[in-house]
Each structure stands twice: as C-alpha cells, then as structure tokens.
Symmetry: C2
Subunit: 241 residues, 2 copies
C-alpha cells in the first residue's frame, strides 16, 4: 500500500525545485528501468507490479509491490508501465573530450527535443553534452522518458557556456541559417558543435566563440526553420561519420 506521503513525495519530484531539494528524480517503465539497472545511477526506491518483480528478479531491498491503481497514483505517464524508480541525481563533472563531437546546447527549452537529442547522441557515439544553465532540466520526467534510457549513458553537464567555450581549444561549429553547407565540410579532428534555442537560435553572447558556421541546405526553399532535434541529428550524422 502506497501512503499519501509517498504519493506526495514522488509526484512532487516532477518539479525541479523538489528534485534539487531531495536530490532525486523519477524513472518509469520497463525499457528505461532495464537501462537504469545497467547503469551506475543509484536507485533509492522501486515500486513495481508483482509480475514485473517476479520476471526481473531484481535484488534490492527497497522494492515495494504495488497494484496498477497504486502505480497510477504515483506515475507521470498517461499509461503507467509496470515499474517506477526514485533515483539519486548524479553530479557530473566535465570530462576530457573523448568522442569526435562534444555537443553544446544553448537554452534548449522543449523536453521532447532535449530527450531526442540525448538519444541521438547515444546513436552517434557522442559521449558528452554541455547545456547552458537555462536549458530544460535533464531530470524533467518528459526528458527522462523520451531519452528511452540513453540518459544513463551520456555525460551531461550544466555550465556557463561563455566560461566553458572560452577555454575550448578545438574548432567550435555553430548551426546558423547562413552557414556553410554541412555537405561541404570535412571533419578530421575533434570539434564542438553548438545548437541554439528553438525560437532564437544561438544567443549573441555565444556567437563570438563560434569559429565556423554550418547550415543544412534548404533545398525546397519554402519553409524557414528546422526542428532543433532533427537539425542536431543531421549534423551529428555528418560530423560523426
């Protein structure tokens, strides 16, 4: 039986201020849990349907069997999916650049976009993302769910981008509408790639750090903007291959 206090505590973790206060976030569903259990993230509490517990034989003392109704009460999903975990936030530190691209995100606002971008970094082998301090929180439930587990494999840091980029020694590419066609660019060293906000692009104060502007050619010529998650995916496909 889930208590009222537990419901209040878990539902409260959908807000950033509570996640910071409690240093915890929520992960839901079979797919994400499988990835979580394979990661170095620390699970604090686990709530699951009896059949999930029987199937998964997880050895963990803080596991609580719940009914579907109970799961519905604590879930952020429209259709709760068997299992929900409360997980410790992880304080990440900036690592030495390992992969060809380090991705820099300047104020990405939409949780679905950030989730897709994290998933695509996983696909293309990008190990580290630097987010501006105003970017949407990676522990937001919508971000967590849309990464489909990739969140637990990618190193993600929040930082002041000006301070960070001032120290970068690799070429810094930025996505602009008036850049050089990505098809005409050859990447033969490690680089940084900066992607801007959905509505405003890369902010002015960051522009001075960009050494090379890049664009995805607008062949049709009728529409003016690309979704940032799609644009990031295409650029990573070009830069990482």
């Amino acid at each position: 039986m889930i208590t009222k206090n537990q419901i209040k505590y878990i539902k409260g973790l959908s807000l950033k201020k509570n996640r910071i206060k409690e240093q915890c976030f929520v992960v839901e569903g079979e797919k994400c849990l499988a990835e979580l259990l394979n990661s170095s993230f620390e699970i604090v509490e686990l709530f699951a349907l009896k059949d999930w517990i029987d199937e998964n034989k997880v050895i963990f003392d803080k596991i609580q069997a719940v009914s579907f109704k109970g799961l519905e009460r604590i879930s952020n999903l429209k259709s709760p999916n068997k299992v929900l975990a409360v997980v410790k936030l992880k304080k990440q530190e900036i690592l030495q650049q390992e992969s060809v691209v380090t991705l820099v995100l300047d104020d990405i606002n939409d949780p679905g976009n950030l989730g897709t971008i994290i998933r695509m970094c996983d696909w293309f082998g990008v190990k580290q993302i630097i987010c501006s301090e105003n970017s949407v929180d990676i522990y937001n439930p919508k971000v967590v769910q849309s990464t489909m587990g990739s969140l637990f494999r990618i190193h993600i840091i929040y930082a002041n981008l000006s301070t960070y980029l001032a120290k970068v020694t690799t070429p810094i590419y930025g996505a602009y509408m008036d850049g050089k066609n990505v098809k005409d660019i050859k990447i033969n060293q490690k680089v940084h790639l900066v992607m801007g906000n959905e509505a405003n692009g890369i902010s002015e104060k960051i522009e001075k750090y960009i050494s090379k502007k890049v664009v995805i050619k607008n062949i049709g010529g009728n529409t003016e903007s690309l979704n940032v998650a799609v644009a990031t995916s295409i650029l990573l496909h070009e830069f990482c291959n």
Copy 2:
C-alpha cells in the same frame, strides 16, 4: 457569437469520421493561416479575433469575429492562437514523379511524426508522399499543426502500397536495420524511399518491392532504434543533396 451548433460541428472535425462526412478539416494559428491563405486549399469558414482581422485585411465573406473565450471553445490547441479556419479536404491524385525522392510511408501512426516528416519533405524539396491506407490521417489536427503550413505545399496521397509499388519503375529504397550504410550510397536518378511503422518497421508484404536496403550507421552501438521522423530526415538529407 459562436452558436452551440458551430462549436459541436468544429470540435467534431477532430474525428476522422466527421472529417470524411463533412469533407472539411480545421487549421489554426497565425503561421498556418498565413500558409493556408497562400495555397489552393478552399476555406469554408474563418473565425478570428478582431485584431487579427484588422491586421490581415482578408477579403472573405465567411469571416466571423470572435472573442478569445469564443476561440477557446472551438480550438484544439492548449493556447488558441488568434484564428481558426474550417477548410475543404482536397482529393489528391498521384502525380508524375518530379523530385529526386518520392517518399512512401508504411503505417506511420504518430501524428507528430507524420507532421515532422511532411515539414522535412518541404525543406528537402520532396514534392510527393504516398501513405499506406492505415497511416494516421494528414487532416488530424495534430498533424496539421505540426506541419506548420508545409501540409499545403506537399502532395500527399493515401494508397494501397502493394498496388502502388508494383507499378513503380525507379529503384525502391527501404530503411532497415541491416541495410547498406547511407553514406556509401550515391543517388544519381529518381528513387522511392519507404519508411516503416514506428514499432514494426516496413511490413512483410511490402518487403518484396524493396530493391535496396539502407541504414543510418549506429556509431554508438548502445541503442537499437531511431525515431522515424529523425531517420527519415537524415535519409532525405543524404538522398536529396
């Protein structure tokens, strides 16, 4: 003043059966309306805030000024945006292939995915999309909104894919997990590109028409699937450039 019957009629158009019966669909918001007014689609009725009417000086006798509260009553959006149009469905016929790629969609289910794909076709100059009969309806309000006006520029047909593909004379590429790396493929003639359903990929009955399998290389190697809208975008970027 919007009548109860008008509200019932317009809200009803969010269901496919009503759209088919009435042969109408709904378009909302300033951006989509601007694109609609530049298209050959026929507007049946227009509901707008007074300031939109004053600003846009649309010459059209079926225009009705509404209050924000009135707009809220007929809107499908969380935040209604100044204007809503009831528009005649357009019966499209298959055209001779004009662009390098004709896109074929095999049971795309998610309205957001279909919307993004239509928008990306507009970006990459793809003129025609053939959807299987079980694909989500392009006149679904979520599809319409997420195309951001590109819907009015792309030729989209629903057809039996087996019948259609049996007559195609160009090479037919299909996205598979075990295909040839798209980076190693050179396109030097017109082609068809088939993308499969979000969960199940390209259906078995369609596979026999695929002459060449193509894949986006999984460099990271940890995650098994790509979002279909992102995958389509990357393949169009490669094929159309």
